[in-house]
């Protein structure tokens, strides 16, 4: 590297630098033209730590709550992207104030609500969770009786794959859920093998490809879920759920119970009297509401904030009852 060359480079850079400096004088200055970050004066709301669990339905709930908390209550909302387990731990460490869509999790409830007493329930979200076995719409159309579990064995050969050892394949799981599927297969004497897909993405891709390529797939799925608005999966009816039929996990031979999804908050947050707590407690909406916001996010590719703002603008009446009476 010759001195002259590096010198030249330096000179060029310097000249351009000064040039930029001179031309820049007309530009807007940082902090002058722009407003300081949103939020402004917290009306004694303060900071609201909201866990974001990794699925779109949850994000829809959280986005709307966060939007209302920021815009109507003036809270400073800190969103934390966390898996459920970690989010619950956050109650213990004081870093999470609220989880706004909880699917059962009885073990965590026992640990953090009953044993450690760091969390409390904040009521239902109004969303109904359904878990079950689903097939793609084309299959339901082509084999109408497939939606009855009694006929599943008849169709088992259709579902054979390289993974299922000659039996039909029942595609299981998102690892976040405890499933009874292995017990169900056994107890209903189905000629199927449970294969672990391992993630929601894997399940959805499998159903997508099933529909596109007319490839038979039977799999575990749940509602509400944004994907259902893309592809209306059809649920297979297992023997109907009755109270207590799933008491012994090993002997289960009935469908999953309907879930009433609920909200959990930290004890500290509940006792703080924060308006955000009232908001979380009062928050309830329908599956359709959630699906709409989820669709904005997942399919229309809006950011969560945009989606929430749009929905809130369209549904002012639904927000009213959530707000604390004072404001």
């Amino acid at each position: 590297m010759a001195l002259s060359r590096s010198g030249r480079v330096r000179a060029i850079v310097l000249v351009t630098g000064t040039g930029l400096l001179l031309t820049a004088c007309g530009g807007a200055k940082v902090g002058e033209a722009q407003q300081p970050a949103a939020g402004g004066e917290g009306k004694n709301c303060g900071t609201f730590n909201l866990a974001i669990n990794p699925w779109v339905g949850y994000e829809a709930n959280a986005a709307v709550i966060a939007h209302v908390a920021e815009k109507n209550l003036g809270c400073k909302v800190v969103k934390k992207d966390l898996k459920e387990e970690v989010a619950w731990q956050g109650f213990a460490t004081g870093e999470v104030d609220a989880i706004v869509e909880n699917w059962a999790h009885d073990d965590l409830k026992k640990k953090y609500i009953e044993d450690q007493k760091v969390a409390v329930s904040a009521g239902l979200t109004g969303n109904k969770g359904v878990i079950g076995w689903y097939v793609a719409p084309w299959m339901a159309k082509k084999y109408p009786d497939i939606t009855d579990w009694n006929n599943l064995n008849k169709y088992a050969p259709l579902f054979k794959t390289s993974e299922s050892e000659g039996k039909g394949q029942l595609l299981d799981g998102d690892p976040s859920f405890v499933t009874n599927d292995a017990a169900l297969v056994k107890n209903l004497k189905l000629d199927y093998k449970v294969v672990y897909a391992g993630s929601e993405a894997a399940l959805i891709t499998a159903f997508r490809q099933s529909e596109k390529q007319q490839k038979p797939v039977l799999g575990y799925f749940y509602e509400p879920q944004w994907f259902l608005s893309e592809l209306k999966l059809v649920k297979v009816n297992l023997p109907a759920y009755t109270e207590g039929c799933d008491a012994d996990a090993a002997k289960v031979a009935c469908d999953y119970p309907p879930y009433d999804l609920d909200k959990i908050v930290s004890k500290k947050f509940a006792d703080s009297g924060s308006p955000a707590y009232t908001l979380v407690k009062n928050f309830t909406w329908t599956n359709d509401d959630q699906n709409l916001v989820a669709k904005y996010i997942a399919e229309d590719k809006m950011t969560a904030e945009e989606a929430a703002a749009k929905w809130v603008a369209d549904n002012p009446a639904k927000i009213k009852p959530w707000l604390p009476p004072a404001s």
Binding site: L14, L21, G31, K80, K111, V195, S199, A201
Partner: protein, 662 residues
């Protein structure tokens, strides 16, 4: 032991013995099929898993009373949080009451380019500028800066811890022996296992993310530093000692300067490791590109994930090229005797930092230089293109890939897995020990026996066997690719130029980005997991083989050619055998990389240990089982590694009939 090995290596009957063992295995399998296979259902737990769970709970609960956590951990956490937050305040997050970070994009670009120019060269400086600007162009400026902040902080701290420990390990054999298995453990224990517990101690946020990253990034720093310190020429050290240098003096004046170049390679590897953790750390709210990728995965948004993945790849390539250039520069400067030209150097430094100061000030003051102009955002095109590409691939290739998957699964994977999982565990154990003894050493056989017994104790025998089958198949594929492409790349510079960026991308592109397309192609199957592992592990194997081929002395090649050797003979008789150490290294690194993808495999249908770990991360009552599965992966890694090492050592003995290195 060595004499046994020498004798055994020369035993002509060894190959037949091996065949006999395999034949006996098949026979035993036919007789005992399905007995004592120690299967365990997905949600079933053994007492050990329950007590592991309880143990972890107990640790959780002591968190607020145990002084170790109360004082030590808390202060570490505070320090880490402050450190990351400070760097974020400088380059990525609104800070000091301003709506924007202290340095805007122009300032960061200028600073990074100046650093690349001053310590690297003009070419990498250009690359740096282009790379950084591309973050803005992809519409991911802030996310990229968050990732950079986290990575740099973790790297600096990893080096601050790793280099001194590496020096110590280089100087002290006992410490080296002690630390090596710990490093193995840190590198093979799946992150998912310790991610959740970490947040209990270091809380959610930058501190936990930094610690998780450091756990993964410190091992290469220690290993490579120690290697560098060790390889300093004995002659020079002796010369120092003969002049009466003290231990400290010889470290400072002889070892460290002479190991400098190797240590920079360690820095490079540390950076790569840290960056590859960036996505996973996003699971515990680590800021940055990883979050974007994971968010996109929720909606199977391949385009967005790819866009962010691309930014990670670019960042990796820039950091890699700059550190490599810096290490080469150290060497070149010395040769040119340029280290002494301090006056010119000072001028250069002053000039460059002068420019940086000017641009930095602009980016501090003016919005156009602080906030990356939105008009330049081309991310949406990249997203659309990636989406279209992924869709096209899934729609048009799925039929073929499905067939490929079925053939390979049915002919290779299934029979092998059947043999492993349907044989009684004691039969598999006996066979494994016999094989380790035949291809390796007595010691390897002992390790194998102990390791497999641990798997039985962990209650995850069958899952381990399923994972073992996939791991071996993946490693074989990796080595096939490694040798074929590695030889090609090692023999041709043109191929090297074309292939290298692709390999870099394969190595640094977060697996979450390509999960969806490969799921589309192969469905949620073990084969998909194998493919993901191959995508990740093949690049390193290819690079190492190529490196080995290139190291073969040109004189030998010339001699062979002048003796009339054909191309194929040249490769098979000269270049590959002479590159054997490179190939061996490729196999062992390939294996480690494959194992590190076991968990990702669990996300795409591999089931077994990978799924156990993932489920343990997601479900409270499966935590203990997840931990056990993590341990099982570590055990598999150790056993395979030791057997492989013993086998190569034996091959060396057989080839040279005597002394081996180490």
């Amino acid at each position: 032991m060595t004499t046994v090995a020498v004798v055994a290596a020369r035993l002509p009957a060894r190959r037949y013995l091996l065949l006999a063992v395999l034949a006996l295995w098949v026979l035993g399998w036919a007789v005992f099929e399905g007995r004592d296979t120690l299967g365990l259902g997905g949600a079933e737990l053994t007492p050990l898993h329950t007590s592991l769970n309880e143990g972890m709970d107990a640790i959780d609960d002591s968190r607020n009373s145990n002084p170790f956590f109360l004082y030590f951990i808390n202060y570490v956490r505070l320090f880490l949080d402050e450190a990351v937050t400070f760097v974020q305040a400088l380059i990525s997050q609104p800070s000091f009451g301003r709506p924007l970070p202290v340095l805007g994009w122009l300032g960061v670009v200028a600073l990074a380019t100046a650093i690349a120019w001053l310590w690297g060269n003009g070419k990498v400086a250009l690359l740096t500028a282009a790379g950084l600007i591309s973050f803005g162009v992809l519409g991911l400026w802030q996310e990229s800066m968050d990732t950079l902040a986290l990575t740099l902080t973790a790297v600096v701290l990893s080096l601050a811890v790793g280099i001194p420990l590496g020096v110590w390990a280089g100087l002290n054999d006992r410490f080296n022996r002690l630390v090596t298995p710990v490093l193995d453990f840190m590198q093979t224990m799946p992150t998912f296992v310790y991610l959740a517990p970490l947040t209990l101690f270091f809380l959610i946020g930058p501190a936990s993310a930094t610690v998780a990253t450091m756990i993964y990034a410190i091992p290469p720093a220690i290993r490579i530093t120690s290697h560098g310190i060790r390889q300093v020429s004995h002659d020079t050290l002796e010369a120092g000692a003969s002049l009466g240098a003290t231990g400290v003096q010889s470290l400072r004046h002889v070892r460290l300067p002479m190991a400098k170049q190797t240590i920079i390679v360690g820095v490079n590897q540390t950076i790569m490791a840290a960056l590859s953790m960036a996505t996973i750390a996003a699971l515990i709210d680590a800021p940055g590109l990883g979050k974007t990728v994971l968010k996109a995965l929720q909606t199977l948004d391949v385009g967005t994930a790819f866009n962010a993945g691309l930014a990670i790849v670019i960042m990796a390539v820039v950091l890699d090229r700059v550190t490599s250039a810096a290490s080469r520069r150290v060497e070149a400067d010395r040769r040119a005797g340029r280290l002494r030209g301090t006056r010119r150097r000072r001028l250069e430094l002053a000039g460059a930092f002068g420019v940086v100061a000017v641009l930095g000030y602009l980016s501090y003051t003016y919005v156009w230089a602080a906030d990356f102009p939105i008009q330049a955002n081309l991310g949406s095109y990249v997203r659309q293109a990636a989406d279209a590409g992924s869709l096209w691939v899934q729609d048009n290739l799925a039929a073929y890939t499905d067939a490929l998957k079925n053939v390979l699964t049915n002919t290779l994977l299934n029979p092998f897995e059947k043999l492993l999982t349907a044989s009684p565990w004691w039969l598999v154990l006996a066979v494994a020990v016999a094989v380790a003894l035949l291809v390796g050493s007595v010691r390897a056989a002992l390790v194998t026996a102990a390791g497999l017994l641990v798997l039985v104790l962990l209650g995850l025998w069958q899952d381990s066997m399923v994972t073992l089958a996939s791991t071996l198949v993946a490693t074989i594929l990796v080595m096939v690719l490694g040798v074929v492409l590695g030889v090609w790349m090692g023999r041709s510079d043109r191929v090297d130029t074309v292939l290298r960026p692709v390999l870099d991308a394969g190595q640094t592109m977060p697996a979450f980005v390509y999960l969806v397309p490969i799921l589309g192609l192969f469905g949620p199957t073990r084969f998909t997991a194998i493919i993901a592992a191959v995508v990740f592990a093949a690049p390193i194997a290819i690079k190492l083989v190529a490196e080995g081929i290139r190291r073969v002395s040109p004189t030998t090649v010339e001699a062979a050619i002048s003796a009339g050797t054909g191309t194929w003979q040249l490769i098979s008789k000269v270049q590959l055998p002479m590159a054997r150490s490179g190939v061996t290294l490729a196999a062992s690194q390939g294996l480690i990389y494959v194992l590190s993808m076991v968990v990702v495999g669990g996300l795409v249908g591999a089931g077994a240990l990978g799924y156990d770990v993932v489920a343990g991360f997601s479900q409270h009552q499966l935590r203990g089982k997840g931990l056990a599965a993590g341990l099982a992966i570590v055990v598999l890694g150790i056993v395979l590694d030791r057997v492989m090492r013993a086998a190569t050592q034996r091959a060396d003995v057989a080839a040279h009939g005597g002394v081996t290195h180490k």
